[in-house]
Every structure is written in C-alpha cells, then in structure tokens.
C-alpha cells in the first residue's frame, strides 16, 4: 500500500556551489524542503573555503518518502531526512574513497563532519573512521574475520549517512514497503 508523505517533494539539484552528485540513474533525489535548502546553503558556504573540494552527494529519498529496500536493504532511506555523502579525498578527484584508502583525507573529512554537526538540523552522522570524534557520529559495530582477525569492511566506511531533523512528521517506519 503506497502511503505518500507529501512533504518529501523537494528535489536536490544534480550539482551546485560546493557539491556534485555521484549516483546513477536510480538516484534517490528527494527530501523534505528544509533538508535540501539547509544542505545546499551549507555546501555553498563550504565552497567559499574549499573551492576545489566539493561535497559528493549520493542518495536521499524517493519522491513521497517511501522506503526503498531494493536499493537500501537495511535503511530503506525513507522520510526525506537522509543524505549520503562521500568522505573527502586528498587529490581533488570527484570519486569514491573510504577511510582506509590512500586517497582519503581525514583532515578534510573531519572538517566536513564538524561543519555538518554544527547544523542544528543534523541529528546524526554515520561514519566509521575511529579517529574522527564528534558527538553526532555513530559508528557501525565492528566485525572481524574469524580466521585473520582483521576488521571486515562495513557499509559506512565509504560514505557519511547524514540524518536530519524531521520538520514534518513523515513516518520513518512507513507501511509502504518497496518493492
């Protein structure tokens, strides 16, 4: 049963001052209006100090805010209050990285997280780099390979899952299960 949340109707631009988008044709590009406006203002401000380091933006929600478990089996990305973002790289290339990769910039990523965390509308930031500390950071539980005892890669090693405050009580636990 489709249960549209009419507040999830603001479309993120595919690029703008201080940000670009990186997802494919299936990109989920809708959120509540204050989320899109708040992020685009933040990115514009970020751009003033980091003109060569735009923020890579991934999935938001789908129009109407329904969870999309085909694309996000664990989180669903419902409600129009989530933005996935790439960590920062140290080579100014617009591409993915993760916190264990040689291309990863901890300094820039920490600065990005500090900035996002300073926004009153940001509730939490899921990202696994253990060397970045912020009250709003949430880390995935560590898992280890039982043979090698090496930490296994986790889903938030390569992106920040940023959750914003819900301005409209669009339910997070929607009945409308996609697909």
């Amino acid at each position: 049963m489709y249960d549209p949340c009419s507040a999830v109707n603001a479309e993120m631009d595919s690029s703008g001052d201080g940000f670009y988008t990186y997802e494919d044709a299936g990109w989920l590009k809708y959120a509540q209006a204050h989320v899109v406006a708040g992020f685009e203002q933040f990115a514009s401000d970020w751009n003033l100090g980091h003109p060569n380091n735009p923020i890579g933006v991934g999935d938001l929600s789908q129009f109407g805010g329904a969870a999309n478990f085909a694309r996000h089996p664990g989180a669903g990305h419902p409600g129009g209050v989530i933005i996935d973002m790439r960590p920062m790289r140290n080579d100014n290339v617009q591409a993915g990285t993760n916190f264990n990769d040689a291309t990863y910039s901890r300094n820039l990523t920490a600065e990005l997280i500090r900035g996002l965390s300073g926004l009153a509308d940001v509730v939490s930031i899921r990202f696994n780099d253990p060397n970045i500390h912020d009250p709003k950071i949430v880390r995935d539980a560590d898992r280890f390979d039982p043979r090698t005892h090496r930490r296994l890669r986790a889903v938030h090693d390569n992106h920040l899952h940023v959750t914003f405050r819900r301005a409209t009580p669009c339910p997070v636990n929607l009945n409308n299960i996609h697909p």
Binding site: D24, F69, G74, S124, R139, D142, P146, H161, V172, N173
Partner: protein
C-alpha cells in the same frame, strides 16, 4: 407500483452497502489497533522476531540453479560463477557495476577465499522472492530479504541501522563479553538493538553488546547475529537461466 418496488430495492441495496463498509472499517481498525496504539503512545514492542524462511524451494528451476551454484562454491569453480553473473551486477554502494569490478573486489586471480565463504554463508541462509522491474528475483539471506517486515515493527522513530537479528535458537545473552560469564537470558531469532561501543582494534573480542527490545542489555557472540546490511545476493531469471544480479553489502 413497479417504481415503488425499484425504489425499495435501491434503498435496501444502499443500506446493505453502507453496512458492509462500516463492518470493513471496523475490522481494519481492529487489525491495526495494536500498531496504532504503539505509534501514538511511543511504546516499543517487547519482542520482534525474524524467523528463518526459504522460499527458494517454491521454484524448481531456482532449486536446481542454487544447488549447482553451491557445488561451484564448494569446488571453487570460478568459471561457473562468472558465467552466472549478470553483466551489470551490483557490487556495492559507490562501486562500479559489472564483471570487472566484481573480479577486482573478490580477487579470484589471487586465490582469495572470501567469495566462497561469503556465498556459502548467504546461500545457506534462506531468502525470498520478489518482483523487481517486472522480473522475478530471489534474494538471500532471509535477514536482508525479509528485513522490511521488521522495520515496520520497530519503535517509532527508530533508525533501522541500529538493529540486527539473532540468527539461531537459544543464543546466550551474556552479562560480560566472554563465554564464562553468566547467561542472563537466551534469545531465539530476536531482533535486537546494537549498543554503540568504542572502536575495537586488532585481534579483538568477537562479542557484540546488544539490548533486547524490552531493554535488557548484554553480550552475544557475533557468530549468532547478522545485520540486514551484511552481504546479500539477488538472482534474476532471464529466459531459462538464473543470473546473479547483486552481491553487495548495502545500507
């Protein structure tokens, strides 16, 4: 006379229809009542379980394919696995789709074991069918494919990423992260909340701190707990052949 009879019949029909609607409405509210009560009061369910399910046996062609794939996993048959991949296979978030990235991630040329271990685990944990873009698909394991049914039962406002599933019967909930600690409770296919812990390092313990939905905290061995974001696979039937369309860990 005939007109009066027709009017009588119409009135009776309308009354009957109204009666049915009222009855249906009452039934719907009755069915939804516990859920609505939870949402309005913000009270979490005491317990939510996700029981294992394997719908694969409903389709004989899929059963044959899965058995063949399991044999390939046991014998490390790279050629069969590669021939079973969709050309546009999903390899992860922010990762290229397709065979080149698949080979790169799993490093089959270097004799890496991870692919075989990952597939053996996934294929041994059931799963379910869905229709995606007009194609019938099977996704495994059940923890991921049936996760949407759990999300709708979580406490209001809960982040699904905070929750994982106990994947066995009578799993010990320990008071401390070691096997000699007292067992505080046992858990059977329960959905539990992972309690944030400081980052582990190196050869760390394999215990995970969790809380039941009723609020009881303790530690479980990470052998018995799985996240919907852990690796999953999906398979699509194209013509007479089943192809793997996803092998990825996605949030």
């Amino acid at each position: 006379m005939i007109r009066q009879a027709l009017r009588f019949i119409v009135v009776i029909a309308l009354l009957l229809q109204l009666g049915c609607q009222t009855s249906q409405s009452a039934n719907s509210e009755t069915r939804k009542e516990p859920r609505l009560g939870n949402e309005t009061k913000g009270v979490a369910a005491e317990s939510v379980k996700l029981l294992p399910v394997d719908e694969g046996s409903q389709d004989s062609s899929f059963v044959a394919f899965r058995n063949r794939l399991l044999t390939a996993v046991k014998t490390h048959d790279v050629a069969f696995v590669l021939s079973s991949l969709d050309q546009n296979i999903v390899n992860g978030s922010d990762a290229e789709h397709g065979l080149r990235e698949f080979k790169n991630q799993w490093q089959l040329d270097l004799g890496e074991e991870r692919l075989w271990e990952t597939l053996a685990t996934i294929l041994g944990m059931g799963g379910s069918f869905r229709v995606s873009e007009g194609h019938k698909e099977f996704c495994a394991p059940y923890v991921t494919s049936k996760w949407p049914t759990v999300v709708s039962q979580l406490p209001q406002g809960a982040d699904p990423l905070d929750y994982q599933v106990i994947i066995d019967r009578d799993v010990a909930l320990k008071a401390e992260p070691n096997s000699n600690a007292p067992t505080a409770a046992t858990l059977t296919y329960d959905v539990v909340r992972v309690v944030p812990a400081p980052p582990k390092s190196g050869n760390s313990s394999s215990w995970m701190k969790i809380a039941t939905l009723a609020g009881q905290e303790g530690f479980v061995s990470d052998k018995y707990i799985r996240s919907a974001t852990d690796y999953h696979a999906c398979f699509k039937r194209v013509g007479r052949k089943w192809l793997m369309t996803e092998l990825a860990a996605l949030e």
